[in-house]
């Protein structure tokens, strides 16, 4: 579905249009609620679920999408499954699972100004690796995670799969309960009290044992960018492009060289000198209202020097941003303001990065060809994306911050 308009007829490829039509017809026939294209609640499933209060602590949530761990931010066990498994769930209400191992990733301390949830999760993945969480469910813990808003936690949990973990979660706390209060599908009245009592029993005990543990110090996390074709290829913006010669073994050396070749980068050159030709702010990682507020604050009064677009995660995020005047700030700064959707996160809906072009993107995957054939992706936070848009190169956003 394009983010240029909301008209079904605008999808001019018949087999794609029929996918949307089938969805509408089948949900209607089977009595499933659909937030369709004309519904202002429509958007990316991982934005809409929490926003509507559909995702709640203690729930088991599955979805035919690998970023389902996002919903773990409210204390749910949420993971992605394949199409056959979705069919199995719809047919039987059940799913065969073997028990996952537990991993706890603790981040403690205070984040410096200009450092956001996206930088935290990129730093975590850089540390534990793209397969570092394989076979595990990650619990994100520690004072830094506790002090994140639900939006920030959603960003962190969203990228669990990029560390190989199918699920990632944060124990529910008062921030969670406050976030859920009054949301359309959250429990109300006496039900709320009952739910709350049950939710309060969910967090891990202090002496809980984990199969694996990892620790990060928040003070050491800086604005991050990726330089390669795996989300684990992330480094502080102040670093240099790494040298494959320094890799530990021949296989990693080869993989790193292939990544640099694809990305068109020279070892040893500063990451902050990499020129970009596009900027994308959106996706289920970073398209919520807080992301847009933070981005607008940096964009205000500046001007994008490369094509840049902002794609809200849902119709309600879009409406909220417009009520706050964020769309005007972005438009004045030369950013495109689109209808909600996945857009340039994935090269399958018309929003593409051209072959060889380089995009600073707030999405979650910098895989080869992810944003279009031959496209080069640098994953960044929303404020870092704005910094790239207004300078035309990867830039440390801390240099643009105003008191």
């Amino acid at each position: 579905v394009s983010t240029l308009g909301r008209e079904l007829a605008a999808i001019n490829e018949p087999s794609r249009r029929s996918m949307v039509e089938d969805l509408e017809a089948h949900t209607r026939a089977s009595g499933v609620t659909l937030f369709g294209l004309q519904d202002r609640r429509q958007g990316i499933v991982h934005v809409v679920g929490p926003e509507q209060g559909l995702s709640q602590p203690g729930m088991i949530i599955v979805c035919g999408d690998s970023h389902t761990a996002t919903h773990g931010a409210v204390g749910a066990l949420a993971f992605g499954i394949g199409a056959s498994e979705v069919a199995h769930v719809l047919a039987t209400q059940a799913l065969w699972q073997s028990k996952a191992k537990n991993m706890r990733v603790s981040v403690d301390g205070v984040l410096a100004p200009g450092v956001h949830a996206k930088d935290v999760i990129l730093a975590i993945i850089a540390k534990i690796g793209a397969g570092g969480g394989s076979g595990h469910v990650i619990e994100y813990a520690g004072s830094t995670i506790r002090s994140l808003s639900i939006e920030g936690r959603l960003t962190v949990c969203n990228m669990s799969i990029e560390a190989g973990a199918r699920a990632g979660m944060v124990a529910p706390d008062d921030t969670t309960y406050q976030y859920l209060t009054g949301r359309p599908y959250a429990p109300k009245g006496a039900d709320w009290d009952k739910a709350l009592a049950a939710w309060r029993t969910l967090p891990s005990q202090d002496d809980a044992q984990f199969d694996r543990e990892a620790h990060l110090d928040a003070a050491e996390i800086t604005p991050m960018v990726t330089w390669g074709t795996s989300p684990a290829a992330a480094a502080p913006i102040t670093d240099l492009v790494p040298d494959p010669a320094a890799a530990s073994d021949a296989n990693s050396r080869q993989a790193m060289q292939a990544a640099l070749d694809y990305m068109g980068l020279r070892p040893g050159s500063p990451l902050s000198e990499i020129a970009v030709n596009r900027v994308f702010i959106g996706s289920c990682t970073n398209s919520r209202i807080e992301d847009l507020r933070a981005a607008a604050k940096i964009a205000d009064g500046r001007h994008a020097v490369v094509p840049a677009m902002v794609v809200p995660g849902s119709g309600l995020v879009k409406a909220q941003a417009e009520a706050e005047g964020l769309d005007r700030i972005f438009r004045r700064a030369g950013f495109e303001w689109r209808e909600p959707g996945c857009s340039m996160c994935v090269g399958m809906n018309g929003d593409l990065v051209a072959p060889g072009d380089r995009c600073a993107s707030t999405s979650n995957r910098n895989f080869v060809g992810r944003q279009g054939k031959g496209a080069r992706t640098h994953l960044v936070s929303p404020t870092m994306a704005v910094a790239a848009a207004v300078t035309g190169k990867l830039t440390d956003v801390r240099q643009l911050m105003r008191p």
Binding site: S15, M19, S84, E85, T92, G131, N251, Q254, A255, G369
Partner: protein, 201 residues
């Protein structure tokens, strides 16, 4: 699903870590339907150049591997997106077994749903197999699910572990939905107690 039978076939080495499902099947093809056939799109951008001509150096384009039905890959194979199309592409191409030190979890489960066996072996064993396959292109490996072992060209066998339930399903080519529906009464009972306990849902 077709039952998994003992396999003796040419194995192709793919010594790249973190081969994601976007590489196995690029997103731009995903609007196609299952019966359309997916084998010709497998590893599309690794396998073909911009004009659609086969890249001669890519392993599956080399004549020695044209009969490959086994893939020996590196760690974290099939990471990334949940797209089952990645498994469809491997399956339709003719691959029946992927051997690797580790897999993307969702990809691993998707394999099981399509009669494709993901075999997890220690990194050292995989490295040894890859080296042997590279030195003598076109070598065959044996895969016996019943016995849970892979036999290498040197006659060495590598035992692997697999969840017993998954093993039975693969060997029988079982229809998982039909099997689970046989447990409908239990599922129903669970649902009722669940709804009583979590009455706000």
């Amino acid at each position: 699903m077709e039952p998994f039978k003992p396999l003796a076939a040419v194995a192709a080495p793919l010594p790249l870590p973190n081969v994601d499902t976007d590489q196995i099947i690029p997103a731009r093809f995903l609007w196609r339907k299952r019966p359309d056939g997916w084998g010709h799109l497998l590893f599309h951008d690794l396998r073909f150049d911009d004009k659609g001509a086969p890249k001669p150096l890519f392993v599956l384009n080399r004549p020695e591997y044209s009969a490959a039905r086994i893939l020996v890959a590196e760690r974290n194979f099939g990471c990334g997106s949940s797209r089952e199309h990645a498994v469809w592409a491997l399956h339709d191409y003719g691959i029946r077994c992927v051997v690797a030190p580790s897999f993307g979890d969702i990809f691993f489960n998707n394999c099981m749903q399509n009669g494709l066996l993901p075999v997890q072996l220690p990194a050292q064993s995989v490295a040894g197999l890859i080296e042997a396959l590279q030195q003598a292109p076109g070598l065959q490996l044996g895969v016996d699910l019943e016995q849970q072992c892979v036999s290498g060209p040197d006659g060495v066998t590598h035992a692997f572990a697999i969840d017993p339930f998954r093993k039975e399903c693969l060997l029988a080519g079982a229809d998982e939905v039909a099997f689970t529906l046989g447990l409908a009464a239990k599922i129903e009972a669970f649902e009722q107690s669940y709804e009583r306990e979590l009455s706000w849902l």
